[in-house]
């Protein structure tokens, strides 16, 4: 088995008990962590000189309803270090009922719109987000369309002037 990457090694050293699982495949590192350590882990990834993850590449979510995974949601973060040229994927589980995780906007300003998109599409809230409202859909939209239990044929009410008539 090859040596674990510096990222996995350092995260394990630092946050041993709060890590649910780590794996590494084809050079891609994934760390699944407890929700309460999201902000400390992110701060560590960004601040540690050997890791230096200064770029949030993507932030999205997965609904595991059909796969019956518990808890139902996972929020997924992809970080990249422009200086070190390495990447890591962080996953944070979220409950089916009132899913909520901490916002990382204070660390990466770019997380702002991503978190709004995840709220819009999956209905996962971000604690501490400065402006958590829908970004792609409109305010009157009912439901969160990328949830697996959103009815595929559901019709939204028309909006705008004269929509009710």
């Amino acid at each position: 088995m090859p040596e674990p990457s510096v990222t996995l090694r350092k995260i394990r050293e630092q946050f041993g008990e709060s890590i649910i699982e780590t794996h590494s495949r084809l050079g891609e590192d994934t760390v699944i962590i407890q929700p309460q350590v999201l902000v400390p882990v992110s701060t560590f990834l960004k601040g540690d000189p050997d890791l230096d993850y200064n770029f949030l590449m993507d932030l999205t979510a997965v609904d595991y309803l059909d796969l019956k995974k518990k808890p139902r949601f996972e929020v997924v973060y992809h970080f990249f270090s422009l200086a070190k040229k390495h990447r890591v994927r962080i996953k944070v589980p979220a409950e089916a009922k009132n899913p909520e995780v901490d916002s990382i906007v204070s660390l990466w300003a770019g997380a702002d719109w991503y978190e709004r998109e995840v709220w819009d599409m999956f209905g996962i809230k971000f604690r501490g987000h400065p402006n958590l409202k829908r970004i792609l859909m409109y305010e009157e939209f009912q439901g969160h369309p990328l949830r697996k239990d959103y009815p595929i044929q559901k019709r939204q009410p028309l909006i705008g002037p004269g929509a009710g008539s």
Binding site: F141, Y150, I152, Q153, G160
Partner: protein, 176 residues
């Protein structure tokens, strides 16, 4: 020589007049018609269109409008970018729920008489975008006169639709 040409011209006009049940009428320099019919004729050949272009169908709209297919041959070659100056609203491309109020407002800004063409299946029925974001046919928002199917419709189909619209204009009651 000049005189024989004139005679031939007159014979032509008389033949035309005979066909219309009114011999010699055209050679005398006038032509009778119904006012309503004349207005319909004028309206159908001077369509100012407002292209409301949102998606891929726009490419086919451009092809139809440009010189190769040349929509101007049908008297509809003059796109206006103010709805207040337009007669026919070409809705070209997918309409999302977020865009729907804008489309409705543009329609309401147009002066009467006005017509609406649904260009492409997206505007006719929502097309294959049977999903949470797309309006399932613009006729849920505004009245539609002509539906042009196709994803996207070929320029020939568009011209066919345009001729059907002209036919409809000619044969409808003219308000003036």
């Amino acid at each position: 020589m000049a005189e024989s040409l004139e005679n031939r011209e007159r014979a032509c006009y008389d033949a035309l007049g005979k066909e219309k049940g009114n011999p010699r009428m055209m050679s005398q320099g006038f032509l009778t018609s119904k006012l309503e019919k004349a207005i319909g004729w004028a309206r159908k050949y001077s369509l100012f269109q407002y292209p409301f272009v949102t998606a891929c169908c726009g490419m086919e709209y451009m092809a139809t409008a440009a010189s190769h297919y040349d929509i101007d041959r049908f008297g509809a070659g003059f796109p206006r970018f103010s709805p207040r100056q337009a007669d026919v609203l070409f809705v070209v491309g997918t309409i999302s729920h977020k865009m729907a109020p804008v489309l409705k407002m543009v329609y309401e800004q147009m002066c009467d008489p006005k017509w609406v063409v649904a260009f492409g299946v997206c505007t006719c029925t929502g097309g294959f975008y049977d999903n949470y974001a797309t309006v399932q046919g613009i006729d849920t928002i505004i009245p539609v006169d002509i539906y042009i199917p196709g994803c996207p419709p070929r320029p020939e189909t568009v011209l066919d639709g345009l001729m059907k619209l002209q036919d409809k204009i000619q044969h409808s009651r003219q308000e003036f």
